[in-house]
Symmetry: C2
Subunit: 171 residues, 2 copies
Amino acid sequence: MKRIAVDMDGVLADVYEQFFRLDEQATGKRKTLESVIGVMELEAFELGMQHVLSDNFFRTAPVMKDSQKILEQLNKQYEVFIVSSATEFPKSLTEKQAWLGEHFPFIGWKQMVFCGSKTIVQADIMIDDHFKNLNHFNGQTILFSQPHNQLTDAGKHTRVSTWKEIEHLLL
Amino acid sequence: MKRIAVDMDGVLADVYEQFFRLDEQATGKRKTLESVIGVMELEAFELGMQHVLSDNFFRTAPVMKDSQKILEQLNKQYEVFIVSSATEFPKSLTEKQAWLGEHFPFIGWKQMVFCGSKTIVQADIMIDDHFKNLNHFNGQTILFSQPHNQLTDAGKHTRVSTWKEIEHLLL
C-alpha cells in the first residue's frame, strides 16, 4: 500500500480564507485575491502574524472544498499520513489535532505528524502547497495551488488546483 | 551529516521516575523496581493511564541523567530530530514542546516531530526504548534500556543503559 503525506494548511485547511476573514474583521475591507498572489501569506496580510498567533486561528479554519470525501476515499486505498508544520506555533498543535478530529474523524492519531521540517518524512507521494517541502522529497510530488505559489513554475511537481484533480490523479 | 531520531519518553524523559512518584503519592508506598520489570508501563502502574492523562504529567517529567550535555554534543555533529509518540494523548503535545524548550533549549522547533507511528521517520540512527519503533527502522538502532524491555533480547539492536554509553557509541 503506497503511503501519502498530506499537508494541512493550504491543502486541507483553507488558511487563505481564514486570513481574508480576519483581515476584513480588523480593517473593515476585504482584500482582493489579486493583491495576495505571488506573496507569502505572512507578507500578504499585514496583521498575518498576529492572526496566526491568536487563539483558534487553526481551530476554526475552513475546510478545503471536497477534501473530506476525497481524503476518506484515499484513506481506504493508501496509507495516509497528515503531516503538518506546526511546532513553529506551539499553540497550534492541539488546535490542529482537534480540527482534524472534527473534520476528518476517519484519520486516527497514528496517522498524524506535527513537525517543523518535513525532510524527515518517508513516503511515496507528498501533497503540499510549499516548494520548500516538495523540493527535497524523493517520491511523487503534488503541488496544491495557493496564491503564494501561483506565479512560480511547478517544475517537476504536478500542480493541482482542487481536490477533484487529486481524485482524478490518485483514485 | 548523519541524522539521528531521538525518542523522548524513556530516553530523554524519565517517565518511570514520574510514574513511581505519582504512584507513591496516590498509594503512600513506593513500588520496587523489580515489580515493574518486563511489564509495559501502563500495566505495571495500576493508575498509570490516569496519571498519563493528568495535567503536567509530561511537562514535569524528570530529565534522564547526562542526556542534556551529551545530546548538546550530538547536536553539533549530527542532524538531530526529537521524535516523540504524542498524538495518542493530545494534551501532551504542547507539554512536550514546552518541556523540550526548558531542558533542551538548543533543540529548535524545526527539529521536533510529534507523531503517532514512527514508521514515517527517515533517518540514519534511531534511539528508542520500544521495539515497535526500532524493529521497522532501516538504519542503526539503539535500544535504550528501560524496565519494560529488560527481559527481551535486544536482537539486532544495540542495547545501552545510560547516556554515557550513547556518548561512547556516537561521539
